[in-house]
């Protein structure tokens, strides 16, 4: 009888632990996802301050991380009103965020300037919004 009791107690503890771990992981995942979305929104603002007449900004699903340099990079596809579609390589950092984008591979067909009009953003998790 006592043995059965202890087995039930251990099972209950394990179950509660498992549920706790599940929610913790999920929360952590959500927190990270929020952080990424925030970084993407900041990057989208920088893109609007760097290039003219952008109509759509789409973040790639796959991220790159150079563990040594500390930079997280993502390829972003820009669509413009003048028909140019081009990819730029953006390194995202949580510190010293300038108004304009700094350091990326230049495609001279992409006109530098400011985009004043609304832009459609497709985030890496495929959600969308206009900015």
């Amino acid at each position: 009888m006592q043995k059965k009791y202890w087995v039930s107690v251990i099972l209950l503890v394990l179950l509660l632990g498992g549920i706790g771990l599940f929610f913790y992981t999920k929360n952590e995942q959500q927190r990270k996802e929020q952080e990424v979305l925030q970084m993407e929104l900041t990057t989208a603002k920088q893109i609007k301050n760097t290039f003219a007449d952008v109509t759509k900004i789409e973040f790639a699903e796959k991220y790159g991380k150079n563990k040594l340099t500390g930079y997280t990079s993502v390829d972003v596809t820009l669509t413009t009103s003048y028909g140019v579609i081009s990819v730029i390589d953006v390194d995202m950092s949580l510190k010293d965020i300038p108004k304009k984008l700094e350091s990326y591979g230049v495609n001279p067909k992409l006109l530098e300037g400011v985009t004043e009009t609304k832009v459609k953003i497709i985030f890496s998790n495929k959600t969308e919004r206009s900015l």
Binding site: K100, S103, G105, V106, P108
Partner: protein
Amino acid sequence: MVTEKELKDLNKKVYQVDLGYKESKIKYTNKPSGQLKNYERNIIKAGNQNFKILSVKNGAYGFQGMAVAPIIEGVPDVSQVTVVAAGTYPKDIADVKAAAKGMSPNGSPQVDIALTYVGQLIDDHPDWTIQQLSGYSQSAYMLKVGAHYQIPTTVFSGWFQYRSLTKAEAAFMKENPHLFLNYRQSNDDVTKWNDFNSTWGNSNDFGTTIWVAGSSHQLDSWSFDVQTGQVKISNSPENAEGIMVQTSHYIMREYTKQLSTLAQLKTKLTASGGGLSKNERIYLEDQQALLSVEAGRCAYQNAMSNAIKVYQNIVSTIEELWQETLREAYDQTAELSDYEINDSLRAIGATEQQMVTEPTALFQQKIIQAKGMDKAFATLSNEIKGKITELLQKD
């Protein structure tokens, strides 16, 4: 002249000359614009400057490097070429193996590839002037390449075996430490366990390491001044020496640059008139003297501001120590009167006069002396300027 912020960005991007670099589809190449494929780029934006990629190298032992020139008024300015080598890419086995080998006194095997690469660029492009080399982490071996070809070099979070320098390279670095900047954080374990240099024990770095308080090895950890583009070192007592070294290197660089402008002027004047007139010679000599005095003054002011900071720290520490001594004396001898406590302290030579007033006066005297020297520099500089103006009016 490329800024340190731009160098940091170039160091971040140079990894992408490697087709095996997995973190971005965009790859950097020196192909002509008409031949670029969808994900290839031959221009890099670093800071606010566009740089044309003139050459890329993907060599043995996981070496990656590139030569770039700033695009000025639409044209790459090849009189300002910068060569950057990539740090270790943790997902590239050859790169990691090279880093492990780099712990030996000879340093990373990638250095031989870098030496050949830069040498070839110099031989193949006599119209280029390679003005700057740079690296990060493992590729701090660019310091050796810089000492070899006598080119200014700046590296970030670099580990480097200074013993791998040849006699001639070491001699050049020793004579021109201002051309070499090795920014490194004092508690960065990656650099420490690779070359065993630390704030408390170094192989001779000839005054090229700029120690900054911090423990990160990441390139992302460095901040830059928005105006100057130079590495921003926060103002704290443990960074005082680093700030001094950084400033003095820049003063010397500016000084040597101005001197070479004067030398060019001399060549021009000689060429036009077949020789220097008496006034021209006096003018050039006065300008040179003025430059020396101004550089001396800047270097002195730099050292002085640090010395004053140290003195002020000592003065406040002395005052604190005295107050602490008094507090402890009161705590431990509650039954004695103030007079008796002071008397006992005096008996062992601990009076406020001896412990606070006299040393404080001494340090304040030193600060006044230092400021006096600065005035002397200013007077000398004004005298020379006056002479130059006089000469120009006569001419």
